[in-house]
């Protein structure tokens, strides 16, 4: 907990809160200002929009600790505000609300448009209000209400604000505080105990939710590549982020794969089953893994097939990577990003593999963690996981 001092609706408040407390939870739970509504809690719906230093900001993705010294105005603080008074009358007249859940955020965003837009252009109003979602009205009444207030004010010769209502640079709400720190978390809430981790007795087949096809080539004959694929520890060392636990058998490996996509990091622990068919130079690895930190689980499978190139002097490796992800990391899906991650991963794998087959030692190869291959499936899935990651709107 740390103490946060700021001004809410022109009143100085000083309260302790955890650093993770959003500004929305801060005003709702600690000040009983429940007019600020929470919808999506990740910056998309606009219900939580408040004024920070006089201009709109999302209070669900703005942490109270970052607002030290700021001026916060919630819908309750706009009772007497001249523009909001006009907007409330217009919202009533134009039927611009039904259930009212979005209305506090709508009014804050509408007020900003009334102050800034030069005229009541419908398109600009619609674009300007697009960050506030309403599931009742269909927006027609809301747009009309905003239009009517802008028209009325411009008719009274009240012009738009030229500077957007700001003079300084940088994120609104921040920059008025001295430095501060919360008590460092003690060795903390360590990660949840291992519990029954994902090293179950049997690994079942499954139907992947997503399948990616990838291909790379190696300047070595197929038989040599296929033999290499049987050396689980060697293969693992070519896969960045993979660590084996225990001694792998030809049919089963256990280990972990750390994956990172931007700020999203996961460590999937699990096991995989390995199948090979020397006749067709193909194989399959089916695995399962869990990331305890994010409570996410993945199943994955990699099917590979080796095809001769250049009269057998080189090999094309065809991979089909399938995965299913559940839990926290599955919340946001951007399959395109997963493809990019898998592409980069496989490119790295191919380079390492070539280096290993050309005689480099494994220390030279794997800079980071030990690694390996059944795990490959986990690895790939994991990456996949990272790939998930985001939306909303930072531009």
């Amino acid at each position: 907990m740390s103490t946060i001092a700021l001004n809410v609706n022109r009143r100085a408040v000083e309260l302790s809160a955890e650093p993770r407390t959003s500004l929305a939870d801060f005003v709702r739970d600690k000040l009983d200002l429940t007019g600020t509504h929470l919808g999506c809690e990740h910056g998309v719906c606009g219900a939580c929009t408040v004024l920070l230093d006089g201009v709109p900001a999302r209070s669900c993705i703005t942490y109270a600790a970052a607002c030290e010294g700021a001026d916060v105005t919630t819908i309750e603080g706009l009772d007497e505000d001249e523009v909001t008074v006009e907007l409330r009358a217009a919202f009533t007249r134009e039927h611009a609300l039904q259930c009212g859940y979005c209305t506090p955020g709508m009014l804050v965003s509408a007020r900003d448009l009334v102050l800034r837009l030069p005229d009541a252009d419908e398109r600009r109003i619609r674009v300007g209000m697009s960050g506030n979602l309403c599931r009742c009205t269909g927006y027609v009444g809301i747009v009309r209400a905003v239009q009517s207030v802008i028209e009325a004010r411009r008719a009274r010769n009240i012009g738009p604000l030229a500077d957007g209502g700001r003079t300084g640079l940088g994120p609104v709400g921040s920059g008025r505080a001295a430095s501060s720190r919360s008590e460092p978390r003690s060795a903390q809430q360590a990660l949840a105990p291992a519990s029954e981790s994902a090293t179950p007795g049997s690994i079942h087949d499954f139907t992947p939710a997503t399948v990616l096809d990838q291909r790379f080539t190696l300047p070595h004959p197929p038989a040599k590549v296929f033999a290499m694929f049987d050396d689980i520890a060697g293969i693992a060392s070519c896969l960045p982020g993979v660590a084996l636990t225990g001694v792998p058998s030809p049919e089963r490996v256990e280990g972990a794969i750390r994956v990172r996509l931007g700020p999203v990091a996961a460590a999937f622990e699990g096991a995989a089953r390995v199948e090979r068919d020397p006749v067709t130079l193909s194989g399959r690895i089916v695995g399962i893994g869990t990331d305890r930190r994010s409570h996410s689980a993945t199943q994955g499978e990699i099917r590979y097939r080796l095809l001769p190139l250049e009269g057998g002097a080189a090999t094309a490796v065809e991979l089909s990577i399938g995965y299913t992800l559940t839990g926290m990391l599955a919340q946001i899906g951007r399959p395109g990003l997963v493809r990019d991650l898998a592409r980069r991963l496989i490119a790295e794998f191919a380079v390492n593999l070539d280096r290993q087959m050309s005689g480099a030692s494994s220390e030279q190869i794997a800079p980071a963690e030990l690694s390996f291959w059944s795990i490959a499936s986990d690895v790939l899935r994991a990456r996949i996981a990272r790939i998930f990651g985001r939306r909303s709107g930072a531009g």
């Binding site: 669900c60 640079l169 990003l337």
Partner: protein, 278 residues
């Protein structure tokens, strides 16, 4: 939808921030406006031990012109650029891009440095700044280095930033009087991340162009030797000479197998070229 617990520091200067970041060795995250990181924290996709809040650092809030080049501190917000509070050397090009990022409530806190650091392929600045020929300065306790924006973005959500390093400033060269600018993007819903981005800086007088095809799920395609896109030469009639087949081939080469996706990207790029010529 609430973040996991984290410790929070608000350093008073950049050196202190870099020290905290270095001491956190990978488990610390920088937050500025928090408009990209905030959603990921709330969704618990990201669970750092420590958040280092740099949003108050005055040295990252500068906007100055040196020798025709604009230097924007990492904390300059999209709204600062949109409203013209930050200086401009692009004759309005950056203002236009900034005004269409997400929503006003997001632009009031979201920063140019944060957007670059996040390296989302669908975000606006990585494409727009690459087309403008901008460079980015990265700083760590060990010192600073500067690189072109197109080298900074490595892939989806992957940048050239090392552990302990942050984006300090963006350097934008002045747009010459004869250079035309066009920027187009495709969003199914206003303000969401783009599905396709086209950014073009074309100077027919100098027979040169910088063409960017962005939002392709990986680092944008940046073409600095662009004559082939315009039938072999860049001249006043570049709009008529724009060759969609060459653009399509570039996308196919970049691994975009879906013909419909390529069609959207080519169409958006064509709109950017038309805007430049208008």
């Amino acid at each position: 939808m609430k973040p996991a617990s984290f410790a929070y520091e608000r350093p008073c200067d950049l050196t202190a921030a870099l020290s905290m970041l270095a001491a956190g060795s990978g488990s610390a995250k920088i937050i500025a406006g928090g408009q990209s990181l905030g959603p990921m924290l709330n969704l618990r996709l990201v669970q750092p031990e420590l958040i280092v809040d740099i949003s108050a650092l005055a040295e990252l809030k500068r906007a100055e012109i040196f020798g025709g080049e604009l230097v924007l501190g990492a904390l300059v917000t999209h709204a600062d650029i949109e409203d013209g509070r930050a200086a401009d050397v692009t004759r309005g090009a950056m203002r236009g891009v900034a005004a269409n990022i997400a929503y006003r409530a997001v632009r009031n806190r979201g920063t140019i440095g944060g957007s670059l650091s996040h390296a989302d392929p669908a975000a606006d600045w990585i494409s727009a700044l690459a087309a403008l020929g901008a460079r980015v300065t990265l700083r760590s306790l060990a010192g600073a280095r500067t690189m072109p924006v197109e080298a900074f973005v490595v892939g989806a959500l992957e940048s050239a930033l090392h552990t302990g390093e942050i984006v300090e400033a963006v350097h934008v060269p002045a747009r010459s009087v004869s250079a035309h600018w066009g920027y187009a993007k495709s969003c199914r819903k206003t303000g969401e991340f783009a599905h396709a981005i086209g950014a073009v800086l074309i100077d027919p007088a100098a027979a040169s162009a910088r063409i960017v095809i962005g939002a392709i799920d990986t680092a944008p395609i940046v073409i600095t030797d662009a004559a082939e896109l315009f039938g072999g030469r860049i001249a006043a009639d570049y709009k008529q000479r724009f060759d969609v087949r060459v653009a399509d081939a570039l996308l196919a080469k970049a691994g975009i197998d879906d013909a419909a996706q390529r069609h959207i990207h080519v169409g958006v790029l064509k709109r950017a070229v038309q805007e430049a010529a208008a």
